[in-house]
Symmetry: C2
Subunit: 307 residues, 2 copies
């Protein structure tokens, strides 16, 4: 039997995690929570897997746009297809954050009309075959070992662990059981809707264009958590301004809670950036949310690192 | 230790349930399913709880309309409020099934603008206090004992049990853990959406008017199952035409499956009706779905019956 959270360095952050789990699991403690209330929600991009140099799902969509333009060069008249064909990541990066809806539309509509089963195969194959430009491993391995251990530790202690991310629900679900040990139904994300079709007389689901409102970011997180879980998290983990409302929801739950904000401050082993997290970092300081320093708190960052 | 499914009479239906669970749990069987694939979905109205003389949630909405009209008599100029004030169930019944969207709008919009926490208290109190006119017990007790045992038996055998019902997701969730031992997050239904508000500086969720499309009925069932679970059920239980697509989804899964259609044929102990289930009954005969006869297959109908 290994010690819990072995890829976390000893220190106040690790201690806060251990203490929180111990307290809410202790029936004699005033802050005890019955297992039904032990809900943990984790953002995905930048919290569980690497989000630099670009959102993995954006790279997946760009690949799809390329493939479509190759099959039908007429599509190159549209700027998104042209940018994809030219590997112009800057075109898409410029849409963020001010044109997030437009960016998300590019990402999600790129597979509109496709049977869901076919989409799942494409997504799984991309995550299992395309390699991260810096780390040289496939994207589904670019995940944070300490977070894997934390999710496992929570599950062992009666928590149900959910993912609540702006990323596409179906996209993440194709690998969530394999890489996170999180069941598909516990993956909440932004999503499209479907229509029922028939193939050889059998019912199939076809992906429709258009995002379901609200996308699972910012105020959309507590809303989608309510729709998918029906109660607030008591442990919420994120890394950006898009996670603020999820943490506020945990804070407003009236229950003991722990909010974790992963700070990307490790340019040597991963990346160092505050962009998109400025407000979250400020609030964390004001409200006693726990900032996790990748540099100081993560003993190991990735599962593929030598131990 | 009691025998499984003791409130089911011995016979081909009970045997089909026992056989299906035994087969998919047996690693040496060609039809073995790993636990991740063992997903069961149950309709609620008429499958888990009584839906006559009216949908319970409609009665809850009528109570709300009455209360609103009492507080603001000006509302009586609107036909739905007038009908509610006059206890005119026929007005609402006439909307079904052709004006189902209008009926659902009445039901769901009756609590628009309300904080979700407040709604949950009203819903829980209604289900725990209002009494069924014929059985004289509170609505949350008007549930089918054999179905409780089946859900338990499935869970014991590694299934995850979900509710997939046209009824309101939040409404059912207030009692699902208590009466069905089904976690809140496993309850899928028709739903509204929310907006984020602030109360004393704390984040709260407010119910918005309007149903999320599609409602969880007919083709909306596989769509909402995909959104909430991400894989098809292998056991689907329903009682009406609104459950057909859910069963077709199980059938199209490419996995071993069992579809159960509860036939209300017991006027003495419950009700006898085919209305709204004609097509489902016909398809069940054509496709080898299992029809459960309440009269013949249920030894006990309700938990409150003397044993």
């Amino acid at each position: 039997m290994t010690k819990p959270l072995e890829s976390w360095n000893d220190g106040p952050t690790k201690q806060a995690l251990l203490d929180f789990v111990a307290i809410v699991s202790d029936e004699s403690n005033a802050d005890y929570l019955p297992p039904s209330e032990r809900v943990a929600t984790f953002d995905n991009d930048g919290t569980l897997w690497v989000e630099k140099p670009a959102y993995v799902q954006l790279l997946f969509a760009i690949q799809r746009l390329k493939d479509m333009a190759e099959a039908d060069p007429g599509l190159l008249g549209q700027p998104a297809f042209q940018a994809a064909a030219a590997d112009d990541l800057g075109y898409f990066a410029a849409l963020y954050p001010d044109d997030l809806p437009a960016l998300m539309q590019v990402v999600f509509d790129s597979h509109a009309g496709m049977p869901q089963q076919e989409f799942e195969i494409l997504a799984y194959d991309f995550l299992s075959q395309a390699r991260h430009p810096r780390f040289g491993v496939v994207y589904k391995q670019c995940i944070y070992q300490p977070m894997l251990e934390l999710m496992d530790y929570l599950q062992v202690n009666g928590f149900r662990v959910f993912i609540a991310s702006a990323g596409g629900m179906s996209f993440m679900r194709t690998v969530a059981e394999e890489i996170y040990q999180v069941p598909r139904e516990n993956v909440i994300g932004s999503n499209i809707t479907f229509e029922v079709g028939r193939q050889d007389g059998k019912l199939i689901l076809l992906r429709r264009p258009g995002l379901v409102d609200p996308p699972d970011d910012g105020p959309g997180k507590p809303i989608n958590i309510e729709l998918h879980i029906g109660r607030p998290p008591v442990l919420a983990a994120g890394n950006s301004n898009g996670d603020i409302e999820m943490m506020e929801y945990a804070e407003a739950s009236g229950r003991p809670f722990l909010n974790l904000l992963l700070h990307h401050d490790d340019a040597r082993r991963e990346y160092a950036y505050n962009a998109g997290a400025e407000k979250a970092l400020r609030l964390a300081g004001e409200r006693n949310w726990t900032v996790v320093s990748m540099k100081d708190d993560f003993r190991t960052v990735f599962p593929f690192e030598a131990r």
